[in-house]
């Protein structure tokens, strides 16, 4: 991979950091490599908003090529809501453009005296004033910077007012609605007075065996185009699975307290096609094009919502109007806040209002009736400005719940709000959420696809009943390892590429001679590395749990009263992982077999030599 540009915003100093070859080979790139690089800096005491807090943008070895769904980058650091490892992935064109500019990462520390943005072009670097951009929304910011620089082909990653106001689930946005939405790293970026990063470059992405890569890339894209899942994503967008998810009970409704959502047809990807869809959009070189382009009554084309936004602001709040959901999604994108965490936390407000734990005085007189999109819009605005109850929504569901004496009602894990795949319908998600390194995340392991029946025999990932328990734990662990490879590559999880082809792509790009087993080992190493980062920041076995709501049976809908046996699942999961059940740490032996002896020594101290 190319160098990482280290930038200290306090001093203005920069340095090209060459990634140690052995770490590149061990971790591949992306979030895994970032975890290795940031390990020493991420301590329990570190304030995510302090100048010392690192923020890393990082590519993978395939980024910017025409490979399958590899136009992505990752952002990593310490999460302000979780106090744990934070990573967020983003599509669009920004990651490839950074690569074309000669860098495969930015390692940002310090804090600028006043708002700035960075301008990087073909190895040149400039810090520019951004006071005039402070307060602008994410769409305006991108356009204004492009106008100011005045060149074609520029891509801008930026934060919005939500990040400037320190909202703990503020994200980083680029390319008209592509988001690194989760874990609040936008707020970390804004805490450094860094409004945006503009990039442009003309270099070709480095590939060790370009000819071999071209063959594997063509084969991957050809098979991907014919894949039924990819066709559904292209035709209907990510919300194409809404009907099926609702049928299985894996689509949450009424803040995870209602089984099924009768009006699912109205919020489905199919209905979007029939009503407001006018086109598709794609990330760099992607043959799927799952992005939606919709037109509302004002006649303007705009980004259409994807599954998570639709469910978070739709069934989760009992809203069945796609136009309203589109507007709410756009409002969040413009403010620069994650739609999953925003929708989830607002869902908690409605839920607590219903329980009588939040009253009209708390809401500033706003009556909260499920399905009322106008009230939701008001809450989003109050959140962005941190007004009234928005001050508490801005801090995420865990803190909001605690403030109102009902922390246990918050549907979150370790401070990150649960995504829209209910483990009572697809039980593998119970472990995905409970053990994810960044809190309740569906992208560290989108195991719901396996629970739908998508197996990978080449990887030993077999099918278990969608409501099986402890017997599927080892399967989930393998899936996590595999997705960790995706997040290292940095490749979209919709790139449904045969594992051998995936290895061929890596080998051709990097000049390796990996087998599938070695690729999976790389994933396992990355997963354990992130675990170790979290252990270092105070995470223990006690953190591996699910919120109360997900352990209560629903009397209606596709879950049919099932709740996952999370304790049983964790027991066999720890066995499969070789993690110590008392501490929650990977065992010394496990870390050693993964080549992480220094980490083992750090976590386990002198006992390493016993």
């Amino acid at each position: 991979m190319q160098p990482i540009l280290k930038i200290d915003l306090t001093t203005g100093k920069t340095e090209e950091y060459k990634i140690p070859e052995e770490w590149e080979r061990a971790f591949l790139g992306g979030a895994s490599l970032a975890a290795r690089l940031l390990y020493p800096a991420l301590t329990k005491e570190l304030d995510p908003f302090s100048p010392e807090s690192p923020l890393m943008f990082i590519n993978g070895p395939l980024t910017g090529t025409s490979g399958p769904t590899v136009g992505r980058f990752a952002v990593c650091g310490k999460g302000p809501a979780t106090g744990l490892w934070a990573e967020s992935h983003c599509g669009g064109f920004w990651g490839p453009e950074l690569r074309f500019a000669g860098y495969d990462g930015l390692w940002i520390t310090g804090k600028a005296e006043a708002p700035v943005y960075l301008w990087i072009e073909d190895g040149r670097f400039e810090v520019r004033p951004a006071a005039q951009l402070w307060g602008k929304d994410t769409y305006e910011t991108q356009e204004l910077i492009k106008q100011e620089i005045g060149q074609k082909g520029i891509h801008v990653a930026c934060v919005g007012p939500a990040a400037e106001n320190g909202i703990l689930f503020a994200g980083i946005y680029c390319d008209h609605g592509r988001t690194a939405g989760r874990t609040g790293l936008g707020a970390v970026m804004a805490s450094k007075n860094l409004k945006a990063i503009a990039v442009h470059g003309m270099n070709k992405p480095p590939l060790v065996h370009a000819d071999l890569y071209a063959g594997s890339r063509s084969e991957s894209n050809r098979t991907l185009k014919q894949d039924n899942e990819a066709r559904i994503l292209h035709e209907l967008g990510t919300a194409g699975v809404a009907n099926y998810a609702e049928y299985l009970g894996s689509m949450p409704a009424k803040y995870y307290h209602q089984g099924g959502f009768e009006m699912v047809d109205k919020v489905s990807g199919s209905n979007m096609v029939d009503t407001i869809l006018v086109g598709q959009s794609a990330c760099h070189a992607c043959v799927i094009a799952c992005g939606r382009v919709v037109k509302l009554e004002d006649g303007n084309k705009r980004k259409g919502p994807e599954y998570e936004t639709i469910v978070s602001f739709g069934p989760n709040l009992l809203i069945d109007d796609l136009v309203e959901i589109t507007r709410l999604g756009e409002l969040c994108d413009r403010y620069g806040m994650d739609t999953i965490s925003a929708g989830n936390t607002i869902g908690l407000v409605f839920h607590l209002f219903e329980l009588g734990k939040i009253n009209l005085q708390d809401t500033g007189g706003l009556e909260l009736k499920w399905g009322d999109a106008v009230a939701v819009r008001q809450l989003v605005r109050m959140t962005a400005r941190r007004e009234g109850i928005g001050e508490w929504i801005a801090q995420g569901s865990r803190r909001l719940g605690k403030h109102f004496g009902a922390e246990e009602e918050a549907v979150q894990v370790n401070g990150l709000e649960v995504a829209c795949h209910d483990p009572r319908g697809v039980s593998g998600m119970a472990l995905s959420y409970a053990t994810s390194p960044r809190g309740a995340c569906h992208n560290q392991s989108d195991y719901f696809f396996v629970d739908f029946g998508h197996t990978y025999p080449e990887l030993g990932i077999e099918y278990f009943s969608r409501q099986a328990d402890a017997e599927k734990s080892a399967n989930v662990a393998k899936h996590q390892d595999w997705r960790t490879v995706y997040n290292a590559m940095v490749m979209c999880i919709f790139g449904n590429v045969a594992p051998q082809l995936q290895v061929d792509l890596i080998n051709a790009a990097c000049g390796y001679d990996w087998t599938i087993e070695e690729m999976m080992k790389c994933g396992e190493r990355g997963w354990n590395m992130k675990r170790a980062v979290n252990n270092r920041m105070g995470l223990t076995a006690g953190n591996d749990k699910l919120p109360k709501a997900l352990l209560e049976p629903l009397t209606t809908g596709g879950t049919e009263g099932y709740v996952p046996d999370i304790q049983g699942m964790l027991y066999t999961y720890y066995e499969a992982r070789s993690w110590d059940e008392k501490t929650g740490y990977p065992t010394k032996e496990k870390l050693s077999t993964l080549g992480l002896d220094d980490v083992a020594k750090d976590l386990w101290g002198e006992t390493m030599d016993d």
Partner: protein, 136 residues
């Protein structure tokens, strides 16, 4: 009555079932689209086999066993898969939605229409399973 898949009697039984099953009639009342099974040789099936079903508003308006489809307008859906996948679906070993989403069952036609009519698809398969007493 013994109905053996994939014999002609099986298809005729399915037609009768689809027209008499009240639950299917209701769930599929909005379905519009004819359907072809293209069963590829595998295991006990030595030659390709095609079955045609004209499905419309919760009823089956007609079936054809091993029809010659050349020169006719293309059916709304063609479901293509090796024989063993079809039998696995009929035996309940393979979920039909899983088969579609994982490309074990190739679909020509709008996958979007299938995805928005999940209950109809699943109830159609229920009817198929209920009339199947044996697999050839």
């Amino acid at each position: 009555m013994v109905t053996v898949f994939p014999l002609q009697e099986w298809l005729k039984s399915l037609e009768e079932k689809l027209n008499s099953d009240v639950r299917y009639n209701e769930i599929a009342k909005n379905w519009e689209g004819d359907l072809v099974f293209e069963i590829l040789p595998e295991g006990n099936l030595k030659e390709p086999l095609t079955m045609y079903l004209d499905l419309w508003h919760g009823k089956c308006r007609g079936v054809e066993y091993a029809p010659d489809l050349s020169g006719r307008s293309k059916p709304t859906f063609i479901l293509r898969s090796p024989y063993n996948n079809f039998t696995a679906i009929l035996q309940g070993k393979l979920d039909p939605m899983t088969a579609m989403m994982t490309s074990k069952l190739k679909v020509e036609g709008s996958l979007g229409y299938m995805m928005r009519n999940v209950p109809t698809v699943l109830d159609f398969v229920r009817c198929c399973r209920e009339i199947t007493t044996n697999i050839a």
